[in-house]
Symmetry: C2
Subunit: 309 residues, 2 copies
């Protein structure tokens, strides 16, 4: 699956993923109205609106991009109905041949991590049958519990040829509170980065490892160091756009082969029609606004990569 | 809710919670057979078996204990059908007046943590209506992202009078890989513990804070230090029983008022009938075996607390 991600990035010249993190605030009025008319102002109605909104965006951008990253919290907040739409969104993205990165940030001890890994990346056995309940291609994992929290995910990735992005340095303002603290003179995130490289060495694709890392676009200097510490790991880079990261900040996250990073934008793409820059599309054509924002993001990042050469 | 937990602990003399972490392996044959006969060897069949198994245990032990801790991973592995049973289990435990600690170990940046908090502890707004999708009383939270990952949970706890247990020192063997690393001469878990105390000071119940901590029974000496660092925080203590923790190890986790900790046992209770000690109950009477195991656990912990006085 890491090879599929690399191949699709080469084919599209777009080392990006679109964050499918729908909030009801983002969804155009006409979609909300229709969903509420059909299902009422209920969790089912909210979920239907999210689904129609997602589908519009996916249909408009799938040919431009290699991957999407649905953030499960935005679905889980609507309970069972929301999670059904998470599942449906993953399936639909697979139909469009997109690589799906489930942003689930799970992580627990042994058998519990194994249960998460089975449910999201692998298969669960019921009597004589096997089922793949959520079936993402990659998931994000929290490293706080150490190797025995991560290992069960790696084992299932090996069996299924799927992958992980481990949280190393997150994009949020307070990420430094623990992640930047110095241990033997080096920040915690570097120690976590070293572990990612170690875990990843044990599970390689052709040129990149199936075990990647999350490093926020908002911390480009740290990205530079982590790029060196984890040369074989893909870096998932959140924080582009709405959180403040720009193309020019991102060159350090890539290797010289132009690969090694996938930059995520969520709000900046899916709610593009709410920005002044794309306002002329109007809310009815929100998906076309998202397509224009994807094209601009690709140009910004590709430009920065060319300039860095 | 923290006061309800404290009051129920005093009333039952049982500072414990039963971990509802069902694995298909634990479920007696007669329950599996019936569920599969009705729904086939499907995710729905697995979920039905989990539900009947849980219900049997809850009915057998609810009058002895203050709280339960369902581990969501064990439900999430069965996809939507599993999560429906998670929800149904939470509801049923509320009917039995149990305090429900959702072991979800979520944690993300700002608006994403807010979505998890709304879905699990609070309410989500759809049009003019509010819904409480999962409605636990407490949840566990991962601190790796720092204050802005935790704050949205605290805000919702304040509004809903609910609570948190933040992972500080987990019970698994490799928890030390990052958590024990020294920062300015003190391990990371102590720094996290200090943050828990700081976050908790801002959100107090009558005598204890709504912000508690997770500290594994397998690390009693660390529990002693953390007890002092977080005097007003309840400590959720996993790792009793199957993971190796014993009553005699646990006295340090409590304050002098006999409160301040709630000890979890999962497999040791819910699969008690598989242990030699309780084998005479047989699999048909698995729930009675669980009740006997709860009684033994209470005696073990109460004995240790009396001996420590």
């Amino acid at each position: 699956m890491i090879q599929k991600l690399a191949d699709k990035i080469k084919a599209t010249h777009a080392p990006i993923c679109v964050g499918l993190d729908p909030m009801l605030d983002y969804i155009p009025e006409h979609i909300l109205k229709k969903a509420f008319a059909e299902y009422g102002e209920t969790l089912e109605g909210a979920a239907e609106a999210v689904w129609q909104y997602n589908k519009g965006i996916i249909d408009a951008v799938y040919d431009l991009i290699p991957s999407v990253k649905p953030q499960i919290a935005m679905y889980e907040q609507f309970g069972i109905e929301g999670l059904k739409v998470f599942q449906k969104t993953v399936e639909y993205c697979h139909e469009k041949d997109l690589v799906v990165i489930g942003d689930i940030k799970r992580g627990d001890i042994g058998s519990t991590s194994a249960a998460y890994a089975a449910g999201h990346l692998g298969k669960v056995k019921v009597g004589g049958n096997f089922y793949a309940p959520f079936n993402e291609d990659f998931v994000t994992v929290n490293p706080y519990l150490g190797t025995d929290g991560v290992k069960p995910f790696i084992d299932i990735c090996k069996a299924e040829k799927k992958g992980l992005f481990i949280l190393v340095k997150t994009s949020n303002p307070s990420s430094g509170e623990f992640q930047d603290r110095l241990i033997d003179g080096r920040p915690l995130y570097e120690w976590v980065g070293e572990k990612v490289a170690e875990w990843g060495a044990d599970h390689m694709g052709e040129t990149y490892s199936y075990v990647g890392a999350v490093v926020g676009a908002t911390y480009p200097e740290m990205g530079k160091v982590l790029r060196r510490i984890m040369p074989k790991s893909f870096i998932l880079v959140p924080g582009y756009g709405a959180q403040g990261g720009k193309g020019a900040d991102l060159a350090h996250f890539f290797n010289e082969d132009g690969l090694g990073a996938v930059v995520n934008s969520s709000r900046g793409i899916i709610a593009a029609y709410k920005q002044e820059k794309y306002a002329s599309f109007g809310s009815e054509r929100y998906a076309d606004a998202s397509r224009a924002a994807v094209e601009d993001m690709i140009a910004d990042i590709d430009g920065a990569l060319q300039a860095a050469k």
